[in-house]
């Protein structure tokens, strides 16, 4: 088989996965499968329908890049193998009905993603890949330690531990002891590491910056959501019995992440890192929304879905800009609308969505989370949220907007570009705009169902 066909095969498999996901999303939830280890519920359906089309879009982008750049064919075997393993593992995370299966699948997706970050001949990318693997391994070790503590907690109460999700939910109240609280704290801390939340966030800017743009899009839009699904499952199980602990830990991690993100955005001149720091900010917003629960849950999920498309658009676009100017320095790039009009438009719309402008879903999501903060009496968090969002807005705007408008500083020859490499970004853009102005009833129903599942508290 020739290497030129490998991206095509990846694209076809991703297309089939996307079509299956769309069918599954429109169908009702299933009974447990394979001995109860797998189950397709509302959360699975929503995230399958989100993650697989994004993976398909990225695979189309890769196909276009390889078609126009024959040098890229050399590493295609390794890329396609790892990407397929990553796709399978991510899908298993979404449909797993057992916490250990979730953990194993998330670890496999991490191991599959690590070699994808490496760019041939670039030492800094190998170091970034190593840090990504190290932090992920330590984060997932903390999650595993949390599972053991939960198991001990149940044994202390004379119960037999079970890690099937529904059985775990029934056992949740029995974990309200020291072992149980310790276990839940460690699980949230470990998953926070996978999501790039403070305090263990430092792998994220480095990995997102060093990875090839297509891989950064996969990490930001696919793996982030797979890890988030695990957190949603944990919150779904334990919110009724540990609402206070979940609220305190997630809100603290969320606010700390937003502070770090805002300060880092002010300090950096690297456009890719800036968007990576904005991803930490988004993770912070999501953690706060999830911590608050109640009416914030719908806004949170709307924000998550929009955010996946925003990251995919921005990371692919920034990759294109970097390839054109051979720099990521924001002060050396300007006049994108004149020099690279399509990339300029993608960056402009993506940035507006990133900063939470209407009519994008991120705007409505943030609005609902802010409203829930006021409604639940978290006035200090509300004030901090507003200040940090405004700081992030000003810091990103003053750097990104001059890149989009103004006169080009460098005149460079146009690189070869196929229409195919622009199609995925266009698809993501359309999905983003549609989600802002009209949410299809199927998607809306799923979001409401998932929101209800993560906001249930003790009666």
């Amino acid at each position: 088989m020739t290497r030129t066909r490998l991206p095509l095969i990846l694209m076809i498999i991703a297309l089939v996965a996307s079509m299956l996901s769309a069918v599954v999303a429109a169908m009702p939830s299933t009974a447990p499968l394979l001995g109860g280890y797998l189950r397709v519920d509302a959360t699975s359906r929503l995230f399958l329908a989100l993650v697989n089309p994004i993976f398909f879009g990225v695979s189309v982008y890769v196909w276009g890049r390889v078609a126009s750049t024959p040098e890229l064919q050399a590493g295609m075997g390794r890329f396609v193998t790892s990407a397929l393993l990553f796709l399978v593992a991510s899908n298993v995370v979404l449909i797993a009905n057992h916490l250990f299966v979730l953990w194993i699948a998330l670890e496999v997706s991490t191991l599959a993603a690590a070699p994808l970050i490496v760019r041939p001949g670039v030492a800094s990318s190998r170091l970034a890949s190593w840090r990504y693997l190290l932090f992920s391994s330590v984060g997932l070790s903390l999650v595993w330690l949390g599972f053991i503590c939960l198991s001990r907690s149940l044994e202390e109460g004379g119960l037999v531990p079970s890690f099937f999700l529904e059985q775990m939910k029934a056992l949740g109240p029995a974990t309200a002891n020291t072992w149980g609280k310790l276990g839940l704290t460690l699980i949230i801390l470990g998953l926070g590491t996978k999501l790039g939340l403070a305090p263990m966030y430092s792998w994220l800017p480095e990995a997102y910056d060093e990875a090839p743009p297509a891989v950064t899009a996969l990490l930001g839009a696919v793996q982030f959501n797979a890890a988030l699904v695990v957190l949603l499952r944990v919150v779904h199980i334990f919110r009724p019995s540990h609402a206070g602990l979940i609220n305190a830990e997630l809100v603290t991690m969320g606010v700390a992440s937003m502070v770090i993100s805002a300060l880092s955005i002010i300090a950096t001149r690297n456009v890719k890192r800036m968007i990576a720091y904005a991803s930490i900010n988004h993770a912070g917003v999501i953690a706060i929304g999830l911590g608050i629960g109640k009416t914030a849950s719908y806004g949170l999920l709307l924000y998550v879905v929009s955010n996946a498309f925003i990251k995919a658009i921005l990371f692919l676009t920034v990759g294109k800009i970097e390839a054109h100017y051979q720099t990521k320095d924001t002060q050396k790039i300007s006049g994108l609308l004149k020099d690279l009009p399509y990339s300029g438009v993608f960056l402009m719309v993506g940035t507006f969505a990133l900063l939470g402008f209407p009519p994008f879903g991120s705007f409505f999501g943030e609005l609902l989370i802010l409203s829930a903060l006021v409604g639940s009496g978290h006035m200090f968090v509300f004030a901090a949220f507003c200040v940090l969002i405004t700081t992030t807005f000003v810091a990103m705007g003053r750097t990104i907007f001059p890149m989009i408008w103004g006169e080009p500083k460098q005149v460079r020859a146009w690189p070869r570009q196929t229409f195919l490499s622009a199609v995925p970004k266009l698809f993501f853009l359309v999905a983003l705009v549609v989600l802002g102005v009209y949410i299809p009833p199927v998607v809306n129903g799923l979001i409401q169902e998932v929101a209800a599942s993560v906001s249930v508290e003790a009666p």
Binding site: V62, R65, V66, T69, E71, L72, F79, H98, F100, V101, I104, E107, V108, L111, A114, V118, R119, P120, G121, V122, A123, R126, L127, S129, W130, L133, L134, S137, V138, S141, W144, L145, I148, S151, R152, E155, V160, P161, T178, W179, L182, P212, P213, A214, V215, G319, A323
Partner: protein, 207 residues
Amino acid sequence: MSPLLVALLGVLLVPLFVASWRSSLIGLGCQGLLMAMIAYRLDHAPTVNSWLVLTDLAVVRGLVAPFVLYAVLAARNTPARNDVIPPNLLSWTLALGMVLMSFSFSEVLVHAPGEQRTLVAVATAGILLGFLVLATQSDPFSQMIGALRIENAIALLGLGGKARESIGLQLGLIGVFVATIAFFRWYLHAVGPTGPAADAGPEGPTI
């Protein structure tokens, strides 16, 4: 079991003070073998589950993991000295303080004195010392040692519980650990000043 746990605590501490990469790897190997002996004492029923646990601890953690890393370091004639924590009084005090803190912490978690409490204390000490290594070192080998110390300590804590996973899940967990070790081997070879010579060339296009 207590003498085994005391020996395990010794194996956790000694490589921190004997600054050589060989002692770190021997320490890892001894941890795996001692944990296998503890597991055998706790549950020596002739079931597939028990044999899988013993294989994981004795063969994978005790022999394969240290040997794989040893092969890479020995092949490139790495200098013998390797500090896994900074060689100063502050680090040593911190390490010993963590051990004492672990024993106090275990009293909060396990109310009745006995072997379970000692096991929790030693596992907690292993986790904290692993984090101490990770927090103070930036070279990949020491970080690997820190991460593996944490993994081993978590496995030790798991031994104290009664819950056992299904065979499929256990195999999955062992598979993930073996794959992680394989990645560690690759990174040990690829990251750092002795990385592939291909770096000399200009960076090509990326996907």
